[in-house]
Amino acid sequence: MSEQLEKFYYDNKIVKAFAYATIFWGVVGMLVGLLIAFQLAFPIFNFDFAPTTFGRARPVHTNAVIFAFVGNGIFMGVYYSLQRLCKTRMFSDRLGWIHFWGWQTIIVAAAVTLLAGYTTGKEYAELEWPIDIAITLIWVVLGINLFGTILKRRERHLYVAIWFFIGTWVTVAMLHIVNSFEMPVHFMKSYSWYAGVQDALVQWWYGHNAVAFFLTTPYLGLMYYFIPKAANRPVYSYRWSIIHFWALIFIYIWAGPHHLLYTSLPDWAQSLGTVFSIMLILPSWGGMLNGLMTLRGAWDKVREDPILKFFVVALTCYGMSTFEGPMLSLKNVNAISHFTDWTIAHVHVGALGWNGFLTFGAIYWLIPRIFQTTLYSKKMAANHFWIGTLGIILYAVPLYWAGFTQALMWKEFTADGTLKYQFLQTVTNILPMYTLRGVGGLLYFVGVIMMVYNIWKTVASGKLLVNEAAEAPALAKVFVPTAGNSHWHSWIERRPIQMLVFSLIVVAIGGAIELIPTFLIKSNIPTIAAVKPYTPLELEGRDIYIREGCYTCHSQMVRPFRDEVARYGDYSKAGEFVYDHPFQWGSKRTGPDLHRLGGKYPDSWHYNHMLQPTLMSPGSIMPNYPWLLDDDIDTDIIPAKIRAMQKLGVPYPEGYDQKANDDLLKQAGEIAARLEKDKIKTAPNKEIIAMIAYLQRLGTDIKAKPANAAAKADVNAVTQQP
């Protein structure tokens, strides 16, 4: 067999661009993280300025570290490894640059719009519809470039890293598209297509699998490339990589409902979430162990090499968080952990340890290679490793402590059957933990700055090898099997398109079985006659609630626990959320649950509390919202909002969009009058009035007496309490 060697060049310039973007967005995202961490301990850092309050900054942090830092990290690793694993240059340089600049533009647009208050109010999917469309387009560009490269490869079989890349691409596409269905109101405002329980299920099917298919599977692909390369060892077990890959992507997709345990989600869906989470332990650990055991015979190198140290701790953190996650999915553990800082600690072990450290290791490994030099300081990299590890510990331990303490305080009853602690006491008690957590984050950040300096000096000492020469024979027309690829699985390794289709089928099963019955079978969400659509003023208030990111600290989901029923009122029912586009159940209770807030306090209490929470709750760490008192309600947009809601099936009467503003003004006038009785003078067209209207409505539909419920049948009637 005569093999003609073909000469070609790997593109390192695009790898460099993504590496720089990774570092840059990492620094930005972590800085915002530090800001919000210290805001919790010291609310003064909210600066009484809308764009810097916690509720708006927190989505910027999560989006920046997930989609900007880790996202660019994925692309850096994929563009580097895919070319070499396929023995070819990327399919198209131009598509690569469209992808690069497109993604960075999306990130900037995301940061700006989130700070300006444009958000859909769905966690990790907060971006408004034009940006969602842009993401879809750029993702397609990546897909074309990815598959173009794979199709013109000079390597017959696809290495395990590429299976993970393919699985990632197709699943993220599916998740993003299904979760982003929304009804536009105007250019930067939309309502989720789904409502209440269904919206929650779709959202957490997405949210959980954003962790699975954005933070996990692509990084497992990178792990399978960078660890064997850095350690110069063969992968421990090929068979194991096959079984854990398919098991992982099949099982992961089912686990979303574990974010909704003890909520109004039907019990059967919750149970599926729990059992599939438990089944997920071993497939996850297969990845960790196959990686760690690849280092067999190279542990002496781990001692010397900071890069391998980063990889080892990354895998260890991956193993810990993928064991902890399933444990948190058990009902009895979840009853304690959910809504507390335990969850925050859990995700950060994964994010700081697994994603962060794997990214740092990969950057330290590939930058000197593409710049044809050696790392400026190995010692500094080692110090980065130690300070980063210390940062993770100091971040996680206080939050585990805080979460556990707070949950137990919430649940504590005195012997005479009353709640032992006010909610606020459970918050002020854990503030020292918040400070410590901030210190942990700061240490981690110092490590990143050391890396920036180290990389800067490394780059300065070398020269980028823009086009790296390589050669390989072209693929022969006829495939002759050899002993190394006689395994049955190598059939699909030769067929990327079948791999794509089969991956999609495998990941679609779990979602379909959970989502479709929840949408189609009526008994899953029993309707409640007393539940009526929001009045226009309440709807406007709800949009302000979403805009300010209240859901980042407040839940709207009273779980069926004795303590929550005592503290907040009757537990939340599925039928109460049927007009909630989007749902606002939240995932964290830094502040108390708000689902039964309506009617609990007078309007004047809310007015003062929004102006300065400490006036009404001394010691509160909630930011001040003074601008709500000054800014006017935008009444021009109300008819469009009503029409959008009608299109989504909310039963406002025909032609109500034109009458909506009359009702809005009437209800606003009544609230202003009530405030005036309490000596608070305010114009009825201020945002605070809408906010009060919404907060006073929350959870009151099924609290109302029968007489009131009858009166509410007409949506034109003001639904305020008498």
Binding site: Y236, W299, I393, L394, V397, F404, T405, D416, Y601
Partner: protein, 380 residues
Amino acid sequence: MRWAGKVSVATVLFFTMLLPVQSFAAPKVQDAMSNPLAQVLVAIAFLLLLCIALLGYVLNGAAEVYRQKLKNQSSGGQVMPSVIAVVLLLLLGGNAVAQEAATPPAVAETISGLSYTAFYLLVGVIVFEILVIMAMVIQLRYLAGIGSAAKEKVMAVETAVVKKPKANWWWRINNAVSLEREKEIDLSHDYDGISELDNKVPPWWLLAFGMSVLFGVVYLYRYHVVHSAPLQIEELELALKKGEEQRTAYLAQSAGNVDETSVTLMDGAAIAAGKSIYDANCVACHGSAGEGNAVGPNLTDKYWLHGGDIKDIFKTVKYGWPEKGMQSWKETLSPVKIAQVSNYVLSLVGTNPANAKEPQGELFEAKADAPAIDSAAAGK
């Protein structure tokens, strides 16, 4: 590099010790620290910390020597796993301490005068320190060549030609092909220089995976087929029932069973207790002296929206008047506490504080059973 590791260990320990003082014990640091048991425990913890520092120093030296040896031999060591074990211990240990210590945040009983929280916290720190010391000793033994594993290894290297080196338990349970024979299972893949071995999937892993699937089947069977475990609403009903039983049992055998029909006027001590309840819960809406503010009415005048009798006030506090903004306190305050705070509120009448809000509601005339001074004043 190594100093950094040592510093991290020490810092974590330092912070672990600091945490309780800041969070739980903050208001009663003095009581806790004057407790002899606490002093002993803290002393032990401190001594152990010194041991750790000392051991760390020795370990540092030993590691240096070992490293030299390793460089000479250039044989694959097993040092890093134990380093990882320490890191893991740190993480898990810290976690365990956190959970153990946090279990009873509400201190009802004590151990030799020391609260459960403080006791378990200190014991937790000590256990944690002992674990760290044990890990350090193991590593020291290993580095110094005392550990049997190291001896075997050295011997194995020397007699490799004669005797097959023995794989350790980890590789045995994984059914791994030994390093020496790994060429035999090399699949001769070459992905950018990466090759793959065809090691068997560890049998324990397959077994555990099977068990997790079995868990799932049993779980679904119990909850959704035979209903032998309570679903969430049933769980709530059980909890409420149990809570109610405990509550009635407690109230039956205590003097705390007071309600709006049996509440009476109380004297100094109860009113003082009422004041602290008032200060903690009521000032935001009614003002620090009961003068009222934008939210709540003035409590110091003779005008009442819902009646000014002790029984009326008790009822108002207990059930609230939600449509007017007064919340119900029956889930937060025990009946005795409601009685105390109601008495305190009644004691505010006639105090004429500054910035008092204008009267609201009906003029309430004290009845005959009210204190004599009041009726005398009213008579004038």
